[in-house]
Symmetry: D2
């Protein structure tokens, strides 16, 4: 976790105190059910909840001190709680194993983290939708291979991003379901010393579903799927970031990240206005992707479990969610404040002497009876001249002067092929498909 | 693709001929709809399908020869088809762009590949279920950290694997939905020169859904999600493989891969029987995981598209699906024929002098009024003696001789704590949760 | 391995026949030494080499057929050789284990593959050097963040690539040393049944060094380092490819991949000339990077060895080296034939109204006694106006009209700050550092 | 960075204060040289160093506050220093660009971090050597595929680890050389506004070598190689950790991590002694490996540079080095205090009824004139009986009763083949190769 790429709400989720609060809730809910089942006195849960109602502070340092001796975190916590609550606390954790607490806690943390990410995603989607509708019919050149292809609108670019992040949102919902499970099944998952009803109770109270079969731990294929999903989302963040970086290139300059008054682009070059936010997001995307790898390697735990996953998750649990939260929020800001330059878009669109209309001419020739091969050769011949002139020649002019063309198409027909609006007839259809 | 790790049905999907057949279907279906729309003569599609009805062979070498000149694969194919079908073929591909064909073809290939993988998965699930039910109550030691923990049954181990692969199956279904989309939207996805109805028609005929917004290409977040899902499944394959490798260790030997009569384990050591299939699967899992990475990097294509994804997909499209198909089938065979040794399981279970029952004694002491801390110390004190004796001492005997224990628990109560069946009371519940 | 991304010399190295030839050499050299040591009759090696001198074909199918029964590749091979050579062949492989053959063979294959890669690298370096010297003083704009910064020369760009690939060459030499080791140490590496002199002899004959301590296998940290090095080289290939893709963008167009006469850029858009080779290389770089991952996971084999690395290496051994060989050769071709457009470079350089000289003015103001903060503000104020004019205003003109500037600098002094050659005074120094 | 997996000396290197100290040194050394060259007054460097000699505290919060306005870290720092030092400070950073400072600082940090890692490595090597010599002739079973193979000594296992980490040490030295370069070359690396002598001076003072050609930034192939090397080392850490985890398995128990008196293995199972340190290291190795990936993706920066690498390096610079430092130190502790159980090793070695000697018998039969095929069949036939008896039958006894064996070998000859020491005759040779 890098503090400058972290936001407080997400970070708080991963603080020791937040973790201990969830531990307590799990233990207290479990004790409550154990009381109902007659396994422990009902007074035990009451004592725990009574203490909790006093809104006690969690003394992280004290718990750490105990752990330094026991070298076992859950025992350290239980010992500390017992010191606070008194004798009744000895009934806590009956028939449970540490992982019952740890894994269920991780589920709660990841589920809550995902709720934040879903809210982030909603904000990003809202920003994309607003800007897409605003730019719905702003003409701009579509590019394949970085080369001018045919006209699109800037709204379509943003609609594409919307559709992509909408898929990411759905994937995030699915990923949340993957990891929102509860296991209170004892040392090897057999419920040997604890009734499954305890698990059901704790799950319900914490908004989780019971894990159908656990083996001391919740199986790590779930977490692998979770972090792999974050990695895919990172890819989409990178895609939109790279798009904006391209648009801000000096030679393109169709859009720019907002540049605040006091900001300095370069200590050496006062004229610089750099797309640093999206470059920064590109790097963050690389990190979020990287965090998926150890999660994938965590799946193959030995037998009923080994603990190799644990050190990994101490890193990637916070780091992946905190960074993704930050990245989504930063990207939302970039989209909301993005400076868009329609005049420059039009200028770039016109720069190639009408080459972007070459396909329509090709089709028209074919439909006028010229063979596809011949039509291609005719258009390419003229297009190459325009290309080599760097847009100073006009494709329309050249075609008007080409006998093989005029034999097939009238001047009016030719000119109609260079109409920009022709390309945008389906924009409304596409927007309806994307935004419903 | 490594031939020895490839099965014919999956491999055939990725042969040039299979690809060209899909190309033809896409072009012919599109031409058909274009005919209905009056864009091209209806006779065009008829000519194409008439030729197709003759079940022509696809001359891959001839197409390759044309591509060597044009350096463009789709144009080479169209040229070859035109040579076969004649003049009417010139109406093919009207208003389409190469990627309309290529991306939709990849969708068909991946969807069909996934159908094979789903069938593989069903076979694996069936094998796991059969063996799980067969071994439902076979006692075996559960291990955490590679260390004996408490008893489980071998059926539970297999049920866990079933539940995990059942989740993998659901993920595969979701992954198939991700990539089964069709784009026939023209050079930059605006449908400038082609009616969206063509896309809808082709999609329906090929069992795909139309891509809501494409940009010459289908967005690669879909493929990233697809290959990331295969990577997660690889993790589960590795987990079960590693489990079997552990069980076959000389010192454990609770199960073994089937060893056929003519087989030689080692050229040097005639006594060896090695878990080579599951070791082999472990390596294959690493490969399938690796293939997800370039798919994740493919997402951020430049602007409306660049073609960097293409070389990646020429590798990972076949390699990931062929290897996963092979791995699932191999794993199914391993599970079906796995040699299980219940006597050895029981022997290992008994080897630690009853240490595996230590938790139950701990709980009993606590319930008998001993503080948790004291109870832990008492049990650990005796357990450590047994541990250091390497199982030659009996925990039950030591406890019977410990005054602090006998002050709290009678001999009968103590003995009841060493009952194996106690641990299996919830096996039926768990099986019901897993198998329904 | 994708056939279209494979060249014959490298591919041949990984064919079964090439592998079996190395196997034979290892076995025959070992038998020779065993004969000298008196462990086996000297006639054994003679019989083997006599047969070899007949230049026999390797019947791969026959060996495969034997393996189908024995399920052991080395035994199958030995059996087949024995069928060819006769009775004397039974002395082969005395005291050796399969891995002695397999691992030493992999070392030979990787060493030979690296020799090809080194030759590829030399060709690339030669091409870069030639083009760098040719373009040594071609002015072009340097860009940071995709934004115009200050002038460089195109030769400097190529010199940077040269320096980077020269480092890659050195890394490749180091990587070759890592894997060029020989192990003939028996079943668990103790030389229990084979004299270390055999290993020394085979190593010398095959141009390898003896592995100081092996454990049936050569340790896989060596291979991890090897494939990780290839991954780093892939990054450098990607960097130069991305540079060229950027330069070929329509709006930049300072350089282009060579475009052959018959070539078609797009089936739909006849005007397209796309940087497909470098896009293709970008994707290949992703693959070569991906292959490092399973090699890294291969390191932690169990105990003296498990065989999980083997299936991985059947993939990545050929795939990584074949793809890198192809990529280096393709990149060399791109560099050799790259179309360079100095006029366009100059035009782009001039496009920002002289903004690229802003830093020199800043420095001059500071040296003339203006505080750094004030100087920055003055220059930025004027630079921003030029920036917003998209280069139609001239920075020099604006500065001449700015009282705070003229108070510090004379008109002559100002004009001198806009001299392009000023930036190239150290080009010769840098070239000397790079090319020696 | 996870605090519990971090050690103070390494962590301190990455604190803001340490970074700012290096920034100051670079700026002051550069100003000094600029003074010598007559570019700035000599008094400027004097003022800087005079202030530095007062051992000023770095007010990180104050610098952060300035950065919040300027959004530029180096400018914020320069501004703060100027506030402290006064007017002379305006000569700092003349002709330099931020990256001159940032990249050279990263080089210093990584070089210093590597010095710590080298010291860690030395400690680990020393521990391995000590334990290897101590256990040089402790017999233990060698295992391939997790299956008993032939005898080795525990010292050989440790010597293998020593040799592997010794290679890692050499790689670390090479990796340090890769990144220990200095760039003070200005905005695009042309030295337009700064004499190369400044770079040479700063490099010498900081123990770096000048980067032959930089482009505002030091090329990131260097850092990719660096982090890839750490990833390889992580693999070796994982290998030794996995070995120890295997040895500590209940059924094997040939070695154990040291278990301190107060420690609790499990909150539920008082008898547990788990290999948690090596499991923990396994997870950390996964993380260190993962950090190499974004470093590899960082290589392909756009043109002369983009800043996407920066956010990545804010994560992996500290995280990879801090985690590796911790991991090496932890592993050293594990090795130093490892509990080794020679009796259990001997017991396991004997457990298979002498099967581990099967190869020697095979060889003896071959040398006595039996064909290799027949010999293999004879030995396997008897070996399989022993195998199926789980070691209760003795291979030697069975062979003595097998007519085909006794026809070829006398009883004495047979018995000699079961001599353990036979396997250790080359241990001394191997130790000499490893330890010199």
């Amino acid at each position: 976790m890098v503090p400058r790429y972290a936001r407080p709400a997400m970070t708080a989720l991963w603080e020791p105190e937040a973790k201990y609060r969830i531990w307590f809730e799990i233990e207290a809910h479990a004790t409550e059910k154990l009381g109902e089942l007659g396994v422990v006195p009902k007074s035990a849960a009451k004592a725990l909840w009574d203490w909790w109602a006093t809104q006690p502070e969690i003394d992280v340092a004290a718990i750490d001190a105990i752990e330094a001796v026991t070298k076992h975190d859950v025992i350290a916590f239980l010992t500390w709680v017992a010191e606070q609550v008194g004798d009744e606390a000895r009934f806590m954790h009956q028939g449970m194993t540490s992982s019952d607490v740890l894994d269920t806690t991780l589920a709660v943390q990841l589920a809550r983290a995902t709720d934040i990410l879903l809210a982030d995603m909603d904000a990003l989607l809202a920003a994309l939708k607003t800007r897409a509708e605003e730019q719905k019919y702003t003409p701009t050149i579509g590019r394949s291979h970085g080369i001018h292809a045919e006209p699109v609108t800037f709204g379509l670019k943003l609609a594409q991003a919307y559709a992509e992040f909408d898929r990411c949102r759905q994937r995030l919902v699915a990923a949340r379901e993957e990891i929102a499970t509860c296991a209170i099944s004892g040392a090897v998952g057999t419920f040997a010393n604890i009734d499954p009803a305890v698990e059901a109770h704790v799950a319900e109270k914490l908004g989780l579903t019971p894990e159908p079969i656990s083996t001391q731990v919740i199986p790590r294929d779930r977490h692998a799927m979770y972090f792999a999903t974050l990695a895919v989302i990172a890819g989409s963040i990178e895609r939109l970031s790279v798009e904006i970086r391209h648009l801000q290139r000096t030679e393109v300059l169709e859009a720019e990240e907002y540049f605040s008054p006091g900001q300095k682009g370069s200590s050496a070059m006062p004229h610089k206005r750099n797309p640093i936010l999206t470059e920064n997001l590109t790097g963050q995307a690389r990190m979020i992707r990287a965090y998926a790898l150890p999660a994938l390697e965590n799946v193959a735990l030995w037998h009923e479990r080994d603990i190799s996953h644990s050190s990994v998750e101490r890193f990637i649990g916070p780091d992946a969610t905190i960074t993704l939260d930050f990245a989504l929020a930063r990207l939302t800001g970039v989209v909301e404040k993005l400076l868009v330059y329609p005049e420059r878009m039009q200028k770039n669109l016109d720069a190639m002497g009408g080459l972007v209309h070459s396909q329509r001419v090709l089709l028209a020739l074919t439909q006028a009876g010229v063979s596809r091969e011949d039509a291609y050769a005719i258009v390419q011949r003229n297009a190459m001249k325009v290309w080599e002139s760097a847009g100073t020649l006009s494709l329309l002019d050249l075609l008007k002067a080409d006998g093989q063309v005029t034999a097939a198409l009238s001047e009016d027909e030719l000119e109609e092929k260079f109409d920009l609006d022709y390309h945008f007839r389906q924009v409304d259809t596409i927007f309806a498909r994307v935004f419903g």
